[in-house]
Amino acid sequence: MLRLAPWLIISLLVGPILAGLAMAVLPAFGYLPALGGEAASLAPWQALFAQPGLARSVAISFASGLVTTAISLAVVLLFLAGASGSRLDRWIRRMISPLLSIPHAAAAFGLAFLIAPSGLLARLVSPELTGWERPPDALVVNDPWGLALMAGLIIKEIPFLLLMSLAALHQLDAERRVAMARSLGYRPAIAWLKVVVPSLYPLIRLPVFAVIAYASSVVDVAMILGPTLPPTLAVSILTWFNDPDLSRRFMASAGALLQFGVTAAALASWWGLECLVRRLGRGWVTGGQRRRGERVLRLAGKALILLAAGTALVGIAGLALNSLAGFWRFPDALPQAFTWQHWQRALPSLGGPVTATLMIATVSTLLALGLSLAALENEQRSGRHPAQGRLTSALTLLYLPLIVPQIAFLFGLVVVMEALGTRPTTWLVIFGHLLFVLPYVFLSLSEAYRRFDPRWTRVALTLGATPNGAFWRVRLPMLLAPLLTAMAVGLAVSIGQYLPTLLLGAGRVTTVTTEAVALAAGGNRRLIGVWALVQASLPLVGFLIAVGLPRLLWSNRRGMRGTP
């Protein structure tokens, strides 16, 4: 049974993606008998390239993938280089989980209200500093260059890359390396960049690729913050797929393939950049220069991360303010009155989606957890440890759902399901979520699992416990904290899913995220505030349990504090 687990995981992840991609390729070349496409043709591509503003959509999607990743990565590395050991460092480390648990859509809403010309920032300084009695006519949110979109993504990708870097740093013994370099006269931040980053980057390369893929193909954030005339490629594809004129599905499939190509091109360009940076960096690392720029680096590392974390938190606070606001005329810094009216109105309709969200998240997370534990336990018992960070390992395939753009294969998957006569159900949605929950749960659990001292199991076995007994009585309870964290990550990932829920549920399965994004279309900030807060607080509950439960259970066990 256990031995089947890795194969089950791989086929669960790879099968649907390949099937979905295949069903995007065929219609893209005119072949889909169910819709009357019997012969191969290039008509879908001709229709696609005739779309107004296509080049611009593609350019924004491509740029968003690269710029978002470059800035997020730079901020994370500068922070790690410049702030380690400081009080800010400890605060940020504590904030990672809450920041990570804010769904992308909620963070995007928060940012939109913060930076809009009539947003919180403008209100705070107006009219005293700016003289604005009316909001300035500036295109800040939904700007045609996608800057707001990239900013929204950067806020969310920084905690992700930071978490991945911190996990990888465990293997590197960074303190000793830096201490060594400092004894040779290097200032700390420079030392960190020169002796840790070159070894760290290969370990976080796959997460970085995942960020590129995500940022170049995201739908919900782009709907909220992205340009509108035209929107990004992924958003355009979604519109074409939903067009009542079914013949547009052929064009939409071609668009999905184009999106696949755009993401692949972004990844390839990044790879090229990697080579370039490696070349230029080699000279810098061994150039012997050890002091210049230290102050700037330290300052930038702290300031940038503070800006990103602060923006996310203030954005959420702004949402909370909105959800309680009475009428709020510009440029008042605070609403004229506060009211529970919006919560009271939303409350009756919250129950269903919240229940559905929690049910789907719990089931998909438990499934993912079971499969991950089975695969990891199998790995321990068979004594095979895949090399970490290596691109050739079979479990690298885990990253496939994170690197292939959702929009490129989900529609194909829906076509497959339609052809199979499967009716949209909650189970189908759970299956769809599993595709994305499983990789994250596995990745977040595997670190702790593989680092777990094998002597604990050996002691248990030599004391006569069976392998299963050792698993249930020793390994599982001792790994409770990372286990709960992995669950919290899984819940957060599931709660944040927009496209899989929308497509596989055919609109019949509503979660807080689909509701919140649907309401975003409505633009009622007070209601969006209510829903986005609910959406953000659900995963937070998971993280609170993950932190609190072990403390409660092990309050009398000093050896269980901190990860084993």
Binding site: T462, G464, M478, R557, R558
Partner: protein
């Protein structure tokens, strides 16, 4: 019926372990009940490989031939938990999520009647009566080492492997623990294999010494 002493011996029969075709160690020995065989050698000489092979944790990359027999039974192919071999590590490795009594209870075979009384008696035997509900991490190093030894004995092994069990203790404690461990093992009549690089350990064990290169 054979000689009862012979029956309980731990026997290494032409044991030969290699890695990628290179011989790591070869051992042919017999350990009688109550005897401690000491294996010495510098690091990298294959001491821990021998322990892993005997206890049943050897990675599949090693090529091992020969037999390990315990109580006339060939245990070479048995899984670790069915070999009847107990292990004492450098660290006490008391399970941090269990209480002191919970750790001892973990050692007891599941069919043991009246576990609570056994555990209480075991605690008194090592001078820790009343410590049952304590968090193991609040115990001193010496106390933890004693609990670990008692946990091992309660699991009723047929032989014991000792992996430098005293190397992390300070000098005074080391002396005391050596006496306690070897007395108890002799008392229980268990064949034991001690791996160490400390000559004082070997002397205290008082048995034969094999040196690996």
């Amino acid at each position: 019926m054979t000689d009862p002493c012979l029956e309980l011996d731990l026997i290494f029969d032409k044991v030969h372990i290699a890695l990628h075709g290179r011989t790591l160690l070869a051992l042919d020995a017999r350990i009688a009940p109550g005897e401690v065989l000491t294996v010495m050698g510098p690091s990298g000489s294959g001491k821990s490989t021998l322990l892993a092979f005997t206890a049943g944790f050897l990675a599949t990359t090693f090529e091992a031939t020969g037999q390990v027999r315990l109580a006339e039974r060939d245990i070479t192919a048995l899984p670790a938990e069915r070999r009847g071999i107990g292990l004492l590590f450098q660290d006490p490795l008391l399970f941090p999520h269990l209480s002191v009594a919970g750790n001892l209870r973990f050692g007891l075979p599941s069919a043991t009647p009246d576990k609570a009384a056994r555990v209480e008696a075991a605690l008194s035997a090592i001078g820790l009566a009343g410590f049952g509900e304590r968090d193991p991490s609040t115990l001193s190093g010496g106390q933890q080492a004693r609990v670990a030894l008692m946990r091992l004995l309660l699991s009723a092994p047929s032989a014991v492997l000792l992996d430098e069990p005293f190397s992390k203790l300070d000098t005074a404690l080391r002396h005391e623990m050596r006496e306690l461990v070897f007395d108890r093992l002799r008392e229980a009549g268990l064949p034991s294999l001690l791996v160490t690089h400390d000559h004082a350990d070997a002397a205290a064990a008082g048995g034969r010494i094999i040196t690996l290169e």
